[in-house]
């Protein structure tokens, strides 16, 4: 089943779950198209009834609802766009571009999507809001699916007997240390023997921060002196991980801006230290990205990928109001899989990234509204 179909299916399941009173004919044997049509008819049938979401009416977002914000914003924007729909003309596409951009989807991505839709609109006979909406939704799902495969979404572990080494890199304050704190707990709960390496010897209090996570999680940690060479901490940690049979070693690194070449070289050095001990390691180099970041996230992904062969992304702070659309752009440009998402500051606020879930989260209200 394609992503688009499965989204539809999930939506339908959700709806029947949530709205018991409003059970429509259960479209058991209905095809996707008719289901889409039905969904769209219900919501778009009456133009006067269609309400643009007023900011004042937004209810506060709770932590558990995590992705709600990004979804509301993204789909809300597209819905708003459709509310003003007259016909598929140039101004419609301009609005669409704006809408996509304002979800941080990225400039080039927004252009690509709307250009493709421009072409498509010529072949399809787009007359109504329904048509337009269906077209947009299909395209978004299609672009998402085409821009990357999800095969790499699983974490790569070393063969048993060797510790799996995961390195975390990224700019300052994105959530590297916190992510490690959360992930250590997850692996520990899976019965793994976890070691942390506090290789951020630069930022004041960084080692203590990771130390505190190690204490909370009840896992071991290797630390170095303040301003010590981070590579030496990494070296010690790798040695310990091998000697004492750890299953997982999580390496925290200092935040650095991707345009700082010296610091980027430092990362390379750390990586080489790991490689010298275990040629196949690190098994993952995860770039931690703050979901509030705009276009610069693509720069970050590019330059970190160049210097330390990033293998995946952790997208943090999705519990905020950021739209998270930048994932689309990064996926498109660099084909880097998102492996985890951060949804808060607590130890449990880390989830394995599920692309269906994410796309569903982003576009759900489109399918519905």
């Amino acid at each position: 089943m394609g992503l688009f179909d499965s989204l539809k299916k999930r939506k339908h399941e959700d709806q029947t779950d949530a709205d018991v009173e409003e059970i429509v004919e259960t479209p058991k044997k209905e095809g996707l198209f008719s289901r889409v049509k039905k969904a769209l008819d219900v919501d778009l049938g009456n133009e006067e009834d269609y309400q643009v979401e007023k900011p004042a009416e937004k209810s506060p977002v709770t932590y558990e609802k995590g992705l709600e914000q990004s979804r509301n914003n993204f789909s809300g924007q597209v819905n708003k766009l459709l509310a003003n729909f007259r016909n598929v003309d140039e101004s419609f596409f301009e609005d669409l571009e704006d809408t996509l951009i304002s979800a941080d989807v990225g400039f080039e991505m927004a252009m690509k999507i709307s250009d493709e839709l421009r072409d498509e609109a010529r072949f399809q006979n787009i007359r109504s809001k329904q048509d337009a909406k269906n077209m947009i939704l299909q395209k978004l799902v299609e672009v998402y699916e085409a821009s990357g495969d999800d095969a790499e979404i699983e974490m790569h572990f070393a063969p048993s007997g060797t510790p799996s080494i995961f390195m975390f890199v990224g700019v300052n304050g994105v959530g590297k240390t916190t992510t490690i704190g959360k992930l250590a707990m997850r692996y520990k709960n899976e019965g793994k023997k976890v070691l942390l390496a506090a290789a951020d010897t630069f930022r004041a209090g960084a080692t203590q921060q990771l130390q505190e996570w190690a204490d909370r999680d009840g896992v071991d940690i290797v630390t170095g002196k303040e301003k010590a060479d981070p590579a030496s901490v990494v070296f010690e940690a790798v040695k310990k991980a091998v000697e004492d049979d750890y299953d997982v070693l999580l390496v925290d690194t200092a935040g650095r801006l991707q345009n700082n070449q010296n610091l980027m070289k430092e990362l390379e050095k750390m990586k080489n230290v790991i490689k010298r001990e275990i040629p196949d390691a690190p098994n993952e180099v995860l770039l931690v990205l703050d979901s509030t970041t705009g276009q610069n996230a693509v720069n970050q992904a590019k330059l970190f990928k160049d210097s330390s062969d990033v293998t995946g992304i952790v997208l943090t702070k999705l519990d905020g109001t950021a739209k998270g659309g930048i994932v689309m752009a990064i996926r498109e440009e660099l084909n880097l899989p998102v492996k985890f998402v951060g949804l808060g500051e607590g130890v449990d606020d880390l989830q394995v990234f599920d692309s269906n879930e994410f796309v569903y989260g982003l576009f759900k209200d489109l399918i519905e509204a």
């Binding site: 571009e97 304002s102 705009g294 276009q295 610069n296």
Partner: protein, 492 residues
């Protein structure tokens, strides 16, 4: 860079305006659309970008710019003026209390850079005013946040007030302020935990802290790399608190920082400081014009264009560039350029408009003798027409003749010819190559100011001047270059 920068986008947007005697409203709208997209690409918020473009439109139509001369330059000028206005015209200093202590409360999202900024600001006042600041550690949530502040305090020899993580931040602030009073601290910085603006409990806590501490400054710290979300965050904090100013951090990255514009627009609060590195002295007072330039991706190129537009013949420059490209650029063109530059006024003044040059001490000692121009002119005028077109002809005997004819020493004639050839070759490479601005940048990366001015003087090419810092290259050369490319396309 992943994206073509804003200035070149605007340049290309303006292509359809420049060269047109009359510019219709439609042309303007096409251009404004491009500008809007360019702003969005720099992470300026959608709503802000839209209203910005509307303002520009109103101004452009109101001023009858479209019927005037050089509509494209005038539109750029309006864009820049509006941008600077939006950023705030002048740097706004920190609010200080008449009675000590001046209390400064920090607020912002997680990971924005509040603690680092506290250390930088406290250190700045300590150094500049011999201040005796106290730092209050009121982030009881993030692991080791207190230790971070303590470590910084130790490094800077600035006292930190803390009560561990088991005391309510409101109480910590109360107690901290009492201690500041007792110890006669003249500044108090309250470092708070990062929080989401939608987190009602934590926002309430921050409001309470504000009520308790009655701060003179509530500084909202925002990461310069923030995307479209910047307005929501800024609005959230601004509505909940009496924000008095903004600190923009991580500007040492390669972001264009359009968030600055968005935040300023939705809060109306001035950006007071910018963080440009992890070291404690990497903090700068905010200069609106510089930020406007940064978002646009140029130096004070606009003033330069403004100056140049009356004297500088774009068409001519484009023709010259085309000649450079084809390697048919000769001494006649060179002479034309000299004249153009002379018309633009003192070279020092032009140099000062380049990014980072305005306060450059080297400029103080530098003056360019207008006589140099006339000497060069004299030399070229003593050449025959054939010689002007083909420097290969200039054998030593001819050079001596030219020297005699112009009344200048042979050395000077030799120097001029050498520079001409160098310049022509270099320009030929540029005009045929890609990556013009960065090429220019590295080209001039190692050249000191004197030499640069020298080169500029000798080469006498306005667009060359732009090479310094690579910024004017964007504005003047790129535009001309694009014209050439356009012409080339047409020919095909």
């Amino acid at each position: 860079m992943a994206f073509e920068n804003l200035s070149s986008r605007i340049e290309s947007a303006l292509k359809n305006l420049s060269g047109k005697g009359k510019v219709g409203e439609n042309d303007l709208d096409v251009t404004l659309r491009e500008i809007r997209l360019a702003l969005l690409e720099a992470d300026v918020n959608l709503k802000v970008a839209r209203s910005f473009v509307n303002d520009v439109r109103t101004k452009a139509l109101g001023a009858k710019v479209l019927n005037g001369l050089n509509p494209s330059e005038q539109v750029i000028k309006i864009v820049n003026d509006e941008l600077t206005e939006l950023m705030g015209e002048v740097a706004v200093p920190l609010n200080k209390s008449a009675k000590i202590p001046t209390v400064i409360l920090m607020a912002g999202l997680q990971g924005a850079g509040k603690t680092t900024t506290v250390a930088k600001l406290a250190n700045k006042f300590k150094k500049e005013e011999n201040a005796r600041p106290l730092l209050i550690a009121a982030d009881v949530y993030r692991p080791a946040a207190i230790e971070q502040l303590q470590t910084l305090g130790n490094q800077l020899d600035i006292p930190v007030f803390e009560e561990g993580t088991n005391v309510d931040p409101r109480q910590i602030v109360k107690d901290g302020l009492a201690q500041a009073k007792k110890n006669n601290n003249d500044y108090v910085f309250i470092d708070t935990a990062g929080r989401l603006q939608i987190d009602e409990d934590l926002m309430k806590e921050l409001k309470d802290i504000q009520d308790i501490s009655k701060p003179d400054e509530v500084l909202l710290v925002v990461d310069a790399m923030t995307g479209q979300n910047a307005t929501e965050t800024a609005e959230g904090f601004n509505n909940a608190l009496d924000v008095t100013g903004i600190v923009l951090t991580k500007l040492d990255g390669d972001t264009r920082g359009g968030a600055a514009l968005s935040i300023r627009a939705v809060t109306g609060k001035p950006i007071k400081f910018v963080g440009e590195g992890e070291k404690v002295d990497n903090l700068d007072v905010f200069y609106p014009e510089r930020m406007a330039s940064r978002i646009l991706g140029m130096g004070d190129v606009l003033t330069l264009i403004e100056k140049a537009q009356t004297d500088f013949d774009e068409k001519q420059a484009a023709d010259q560039l085309e000649k450079l490209r084809l390697n048919t650029f000769d001494f006649n063109d060179f002479l034309d350029q000299l004249k153009q530059v002379q018309n633009m006024g003192p070279l020092e003044d032009m140099l000062k408009m380049l990014p980072g040059m305005a306060n450059n001490p080297a400029l103080a000692n530098m003056s360019i003798d207008p006589k140099d121009f006339s000497h060069m002119e004299a030399i070229v005028q003593s050449m025959t027409n054939k010689e002007r077109q083909d420097p290969e002809l200039l054998v030593p005997a001819r050079r001596r003749r030219i020297a005699a004819g112009s009344g200048r020493p042979v050395i000077e004639v030799n120097k001029l010819i050498k520079q001409f050839v160098q310049m022509r070759d270099m320009m030929h490479r540029f005009t045929n190559g890609k990556g013009l601005p960065s090429g220019m940048e590295s080209m001039f990366g190692d050249v000191d100011t004197n030499e640069m001015s020298n080169m500029m003087g000798q080469m006498g090419m306005p667009s060359m001047g732009g090479g310094i810092g690579g910024k004017i290259a964007d504005a003047a050369m790129k535009r001309a270059f694009k014209k050439i490319q356009k012409k080339k396309k047409k020919r095909k």
